[in-house]
């Protein structure tokens, strides 16, 4: 069974640009979660999508947004990039037990 996949592996953007990160959940999983792992800040919850709807978001500004598609894959969009947005962005998915989340390999975003 394929795990959670994320693309791209690495992304380099300049300040002010927009970044789009993609995630495909494990087959059968309906929930997708996004987390940010920034240096010195640890793993922070960003967004939770389930059945196409945003269910919860962490303490991040509105320029962090996303969506979930009918096939349960998800996009994370970060607008007006700032240097401090440089981080590893991890996507996770879950099904029956919502808190048992399985993570993808991450997208490393570098903002210069």
């Amino acid at each position: 069974e394929a795990g959670v996949t994320q693309s791209p592996t690495h992304l380099i953007k300049t300040r002010g640009q927009q970044a789009t990160l993609r995630c495909s959940p494990i087959s059968g999983h309906t929930s997708v979660y996004w987390y940010q792992q920034a240096l010195g800040l640890g793993l922070q919850f960003l967004l939770w999508y389930d059945e196409g709807e945003e269910r919860n978001r962490g303490n991040f500004p509105p320029r962090f947004s996303g969506r979930q598609f009918p096939n349960y894959s998800s996009e994370l969009n970060v607008n007006a990039l700032e240097l401090e947005d440089s981080a590893l962005y991890l996507c996770a998915s879950s099904f029956i037990n919502p808190s048992e989340q399985y993570f993808g390999p991450g997208t490393r975003l570098t903002v210069t």
Partner: protein
């Protein structure tokens, strides 16, 4: 904010030794999970222990949970060089605050051959 605090922050052991790391948390939980992260890549789910469980085993891993002390420990027995990684505990609250996991700061484990 971080729910869990992990101790120690870093651990260096010889191959074959046991590695023990601890996690403390602040609020009541539904369950607690441990994850491994290699070289800043994705998280690998190791084990989940529910709030009504006190101990759980999976291969060379042993997890304990003490809800009265709001703490958990992860023991890796007979460590191998491949166990070198960062280990994180993550909690899911009783009210399942939007299903998010709250992570500790992690323990960096170095297993020397």
């Amino acid at each position: 904010s971080q729910q869990g605090e992990e101790d120690p922050q870093a651990l260096s052991i010889q191959e074959g030794e046991n590695a023990t790391m601890n996690c403390s948390y602040k609020t009541s939980i539904n369950n607690l999970q441990w994850y491994r992260q290699n070289s800043g890549r994705g998280l690998v789910h190791l084990i989940l222990i529910r709030s009504n469980e006190r101990e759980k085993h999976s291969g060379r891993l042993r997890v304990t949970l003490d809800t009265s002390k709001k703490s958990s420990s992860l023991l890796i027995t007979a460590s191998r060089a491949a166990d070198t990684a960062s280990y994180f505990c993550a909690t899911a609250g009783i009210k399942a605050a939007g299903n998010k996991l709250t992570f500790g700061g992690g323990t960096r484990v170095l297993v020397k051959p």
